[in-house]
Assembly symmetry: C2
């Protein structure tokens, strides 16, 4: 059964919130939770090598099935001994189902297109039916087809420790009718994913089911109860990073979490801004992935802790420093004076500013190193606070509320 493939254990619960301290055990090591999972789309967290990731103490990253399916292909990866061996990483890996990218194409191939009202189909790169999705490769236009069975087959061949059921990702805003239809299909596909997963595999993997239902309370609760009742190793909450406001994300978690079985690990897909993290941990999420810290890094936006006394940073920029601003060109101090990351220990803001100005590759490495170190220290602080029963105090320190 799926539950045996991956072991999750709650180590402590917060008394004043739904937050919990836990651990996920896999054959590739243990992940202490709550934990942030960086994105390494094509089997590499952009600009960092694995020694650096280990030094940061990030022991899991998120790889996109869709991209690896197109290059080098799951059969190639399987022949080369699976994803861990192929890329040379002996710690945890998580893959998605490929659905997110494929359904992005179904909405439209550009990001802007995602905001079109879901349900109103136009000509797109992908076509959905009850059995699955047919789509064209964004690379060469070749035609591919994903079904629940195919997604699981690909993810088995890749062999990540945590894999995801193939769902219909509902974009935001969606009509109630479309959200319901997509949720029901996701539920039917959940059963097919579990069937496909049960077939013998040479890997020890844990399959997570996905809760959908857009921003509708009854759909979300129904989905939580249904998916939560199936024999998945863990549960993921989807469709909350596709345009909803932070208030709506909080509501979705408020509806969904109480209806999920407590003993299973919970992953939130695609969310990870600093204020989100405190919110989702408080609601009882164990792991979450997001491109934010690595993408910001490559733009020169470096994560910084809240200042005391608080600086009046513009809303949404409370936790970032834009190193490309000319003023940093003559600033001898590190990004953060109390940060112990390799970037802050050895390099000044002035050097980083210079590297970004010259578009030197080292700019991306040093910035990404800092941002991921920042995330890893933040989740470590959160875990420590959960062990000590001071989580809400920590949140207040960070967010002022």
């Amino acid at each position: 059964m799926a539950e045996k493939e991956l072991k999750f254990k709650i180590l402590a619960k917060d008394r004043k919130s739904a937050a919990r301290l836990g651990e996920i055990k896999t054959v590739h090591g243990t992940l202490l939770t709550p934990e942030f999972i960086p994105v390494g789309t094509k089997g590499t967290v952009k600009s960092l090598d694995f020694e650096q990731l280990k030094k940061i103490n990030l022991n899991c990253f998120f790889v996109n099935t869709y991209h690896l399916h197109l290059q080098p292909g799951e059969d190639r990866v399987f022949d080369l001994g699976g994803l861990h061996r192929f890329i040379g990483w002996n710690k945890l890996l998580m893959t998605d189902s490929g659905g997110f990218q494929v359904f992005s194409q179904a909405r439209n191939s550009s990001f802007g297109g995602r905001r079109a009202l879901a349900g109103a189909e136009t000509e797109t790169l992908a076509k959905i039916d009850e059995d699955g999705v047919t789509f064209k490769s964004f690379k060469d236009g070749s035609v591919h087809r994903f079904t629940p069975e195919k997604s699981i087959e690909i993810q088995k061949k890749l062999g990540a420790d945590i894999i995801l059921a193939f769902d219909e990702c509902t974009y935001y805003p969606a009509t109630y009718e479309y959200a319901k239809k997509a949720m029901e299909r996701t539920h039917r596909w959940a059963g097919r994913c579990l069937e496909a997963f049960k077939k013998r595999s040479r890997f020890n993997q844990g399959l997570y089911g996905i809760v959908q239902g857009s921003v509708f309370e009854d759909l979300r609760k129904k989905s939580a109860r249904f998916v939560g009742s199936l024999p998945f190793a863990g549960l993921a909450i989807g469709g909350v990073s596709v345009g909803e406001s932070k208030t709506e994300m909080a509501k979705v978690l408020e509806w969904v979490i109480p209806d999920l079985p407590e003993e299973k690990s919970r992953h939130l897909l695609g969310v990870g801004e600093i204020d989100d993290i405190f919110e989702l941990v408080a609601r009882g999420i164990d792991t979450f992935d997001c491109v934010m810290p690595t993408r910001l890094a490559r733009m020169g936006l470096l994560l910084v802790k809240p200042q005391s006394p608080k600086k009046n940073r513009p809303k949404g920029k409370e936790f970032t420093l834009d190193i490309t601003k000319p003023i940093y060109g003559k600033d001898e101090s590190p990004i953060e004076s109390d940060c112990r990351c390799e970037t802050c220990l050895h390099h000044s803001r002035a050097y980083l500013n210079h590297l970004f100005k010259e578009k030197e590759l080292l700019a991306y490495t040093l910035a990404t190193y800092h941002n991921l170190w920042f995330m890893a220290r933040l989740t470590q602080e959160i875990r420590e606070s959960l062990g000590r029963g001071s989580f809400l105090k920590l949140r207040k320190h960070w967010l002022g509320r």
Copy 2:
């Protein structure tokens, strides 16, 4: 006096060639020679961080004065405590005079233009006169002027351990008349550089003079004797990486080296292909810089040792493996099975092929790491062979001659 700023000592001499084992002592550590010096144009060896460079055991790199003059400017670097502190590197650094780039512009701004017969001036981005060179920035078209005094002033502000006199770099092919004129100007400028250098500086630097004279024996010998007689800390040989054949490079070294004082360290500018290295070490060169290993790496051309039995690799490709070739996409082996670099210890050719195909930043890091590790191990082997008196045997093993 200049000689006191930098200490060079010969530790052993080869009996069958002019090769020597030595050490260059500076306030930022000791460099064992012969040694390869990688290029880090803008204050970073592209795609590597300094921890990686140290792990490779490369303790010096070559920074271009021209580029740092344009961004962030030498005054900025000086205000930030000099180049070492600015970039966060506490080992050796070498800067050039800026002349090479400026004179490239005088020939023409494109590489192809370098091959125009030197001496036939056309409209260019730079204008040479007896006092110096006026040139336009390739970045923004702003007008700058380098003179021997200015170049030394800039290099003092940057503060590298080894700095170079401002010379007129003769491009190849040049007329005898032009080569003579340029050499004589280089000699007059050498005196001015020494004068400018003698003025008090807060850095402990060693100034190297530069021998020019194109491919003309009498000019090269005259230049070697003249520049060799001046109180420089070391001597560099210029103008041998601008189009001459390998045979001509060997000839230039054959003419020049016997006329240089033995007790001074000798640097060869811009040369570092594998077969060149054995040639230049055999002729008595101590250090040499080249963009080759790092530039090849970013193209997916990985350095490999000679195979036994020898593979029939095409001429000029004896020491490289093109990892972008489709065949490597399914190759589980490392670049070199006996290489102990981090790339070869942890990653397969298949993964590298995938990273290059996807243009992932990690491709450049892993490839550069391997190529520089390769260079560092090669020079280490050469130094060991010089200590044991087996240098020519090593050369035969590598080159088959």
